[in-house]
């Protein structure tokens, strides 16, 4: 097994193992350190003795032993020792089957990471680190912050959880509605980071799959939470389009130009089933509307069918009734351009010019496109350069560069 393969094993196993250790030892730092150490031992011993049949179970057992040793040493150092929590024997453990050895505590870990007393800006980062196994470097890049800043934010959040008594139990049913919003918002941010990487070739490739799994777990746990179903559906519709998002030259393809024949019908079918539940439970929630928007696109079977712009505009209108949001208005303008013309859409976009949008890449990209379509080429060039300045990912950068290049003789 080479380095990249090892890395993949570690990443895939990390969420489940860290969650199981964290809940068992009630200590996030200990869980993280023990897991890292077990990965180091794997790197040293697997090449010699061979890769175990179930690498995740091996890593879990070794990490568990490392954590216990570390607690014992701590106990010796301190005069009055903390009690080492006894392992709760589970039916799975009794079976002693390797693949059943690790209890799935990821949802519990998500609730811990998304506790309202944890700083909102740290919740998604902490979830990505502990539940999805991303490195600090990767998360810092995704959130466009300095690595040291992010590392400090994570340390602070873990310290707060350890010292302030954030519970390691799942919250009581009565408080779920109150707690669910923070969890959904965190998973949404996490998914938007996975989605930005259009080609899926980057470091986020694995965690989009992880988010498909986690949102499904959430709906299993909370069969009455309509918005959880809506988010699970939305993520499936968006992931379904991944195979069509980039052309063979690695250039991003806008949604309306993607070949629906390449979209994953299995994920779309899963999304449909989840959306039906969401519409039954929370028909007027923003997330249900957002999932419907995705569904409208996913119903397209080929590029010969007309794009569903009128339905898109009406769904955005309904969304705006619930929450007037500049990003929703921007997306609506894209659809308006196809129905009422680019000039009308450009008026809508220019009216937006909110300071919060100045660092939002799609604002400049949409505006640039509308400027081209209304013949304002110089202004369009400026807008494309503005978009490029905001560090787009590779596929998006290539697309923007192509568009800018096409304006050369205009």
């Amino acid at each position: 097994m080479n380095g990249a393969a090892l890395d993949r094993v570690f990443r895939e196993a990390s969420g489940r193992i860290i969650a199981a250790l964290a809940v068992r030892f009630r200590d996030l730092g200990l869980a993280e350190d023990a897991f890292s150490e077990s990965c180091l031992r794997a790197v040293r011993t697997w090449p010699e003795r061979g890769v175990p049949d179930d690498p995740a179970a091996w890593l879990f057992r070794v990490a568990e032993r490392i954590a216990l040793d570390s607690l014992r040493r701590k106990r010796l150092r301190e005069q009055n020792p903390p009690e080492i929590p006894a392992a709760e024997p589970t039916a799975e453990q009794a079976m002693l089957e390797d693949s059943y050895l690790i209890p799935d505590e990821r949802l519990r870990l998500i609730f811990i990471c998304c506790h309202p007393a944890v700083a909102a800006e740290a919740r998604a980062a902490l979830t990505l680190r502990l539940v999805c196994g991303l490195t600090v470097t990767e998360i810092a890049r995704a959130f466009l912050v300095q690595e040291a800043t992010l590392a400090q934010r994570l340390v602070r959040a873990k310290h707060k959880i350890a010292e302030a008594g954030v519970p390691f139990e799942l919250p009581s049913r009565s408080s779920w509605p109150q707690r669910l919003e923070a969890v959904l918002a965190t998973l949404e941010i996490a998914y938007s980071k996975a989605h930005e990487d259009a080609s899926g070739a980057g470091s986020h490739a694995g965690f989009a799959a992880e988010l498909l799994h986690l949102t499904k777990l959430l709906t299993d746990l909370m069969p009455e939470a309509g918005e959880a179903f809506a988010l699970a559906a939305l993520i499936r519709y968006a992931e379904a389009r991944r195979p069509a998002r980039v052309d063979s030259d690695g250039v991003m393809i806008p949604l309306a130009k993607q070949d629906p024949g390449l979209w994953r019908r299995d994920l779309i079918a899963e999304g449909d089933a989840l959306l039906i539940e969401a519409m039954g439970l929370a028909p007027s929630a923003s997330r249900s509307l957002q999932a419907q928007l995705q569904r409208v696109w996913c119903r397209r079977r080929s590029l010969n069918e007309p794009a569903p712009w009128p339905t898109i505009v009406s769904l955005y209108d309904q969304l705006l009734e619930r929450r007037d949001d500049p990003i929703v208005r921007l997306n609506r303008a894209v659809a308006v351009a196809e129905i009422a013309g680019a000039a009308t859409a450009l008026c809508d976009v220019e009216a937006l010019a909110a300071p919060s949008l100045m660092d939002f890449l799609p604002f400049h990209a949409v505006r640039a496109d509308l400027l081209v379509r209304t013949g304002q080429f110089d202004a369009a060039r400026v807008a494309y350069r503005e978009a490029l300045r905001l560090e787009p990912n590779l596929a998006e950068r290539r697309w923007l560069e192509h568009r800018l290049e096409a304006l050369r003789y205009s």
Binding site: A117, K160, E163, A164, G165, V166, P167
Partner: protein, 114 residues
């Protein structure tokens, strides 16, 4: 009449987790002070650092939970409850019920040594 004496100091003096020689020094001085106070002392404790604080703000009747201590020049600390709660979630539930006249904030701080 009962008084709460709230001690404001630069917490960085005591290091990140309030362990080490400085805290030992101040604790022994507090113990001596407690002796001095005798029955006049009802209760009290050192608090963990502000990094462990959680604040429930009330603005126009709406309560929101924030990570961090309360810092606002307009309102000042006007009293404190010593409560026993299972964990931070329960402490937040109790803090939400503490009455405030208009806008305000309740800061939750775990006691040192918990």
């Amino acid at each position: 009449m009962k008084y709460a004496l709230l001690i404001y100091e630069n917490e960085s003096l005591y290091g990140p987790d309030k362990v080490g020689p400085k805290i030992q020094e101040i604790v022994s001085r507090h113990m001596a002070f407690n002796q001095e106070l005798g029955t006049k002392r009802i209760g009290g404790s050192g608090l963990k650092g502000t990094a462990t604080a959680t604040t429930i703000r009330t603005t126009a009747g709406k309560k929101t939970v924030h990570d961090g201590p309360f810092a606002e020049a307009r309102e000042q600390l006007g009293g404190f409850y010593l409560i026993e709660a299972e964990n931070l979630t329960e402490a937040i539930e109790i803090a939400r019920r503490v009455p405030v006249l208009q806008d305000g904030a309740i800061e939750i701080r775990p006691l040192l040594g918990e």
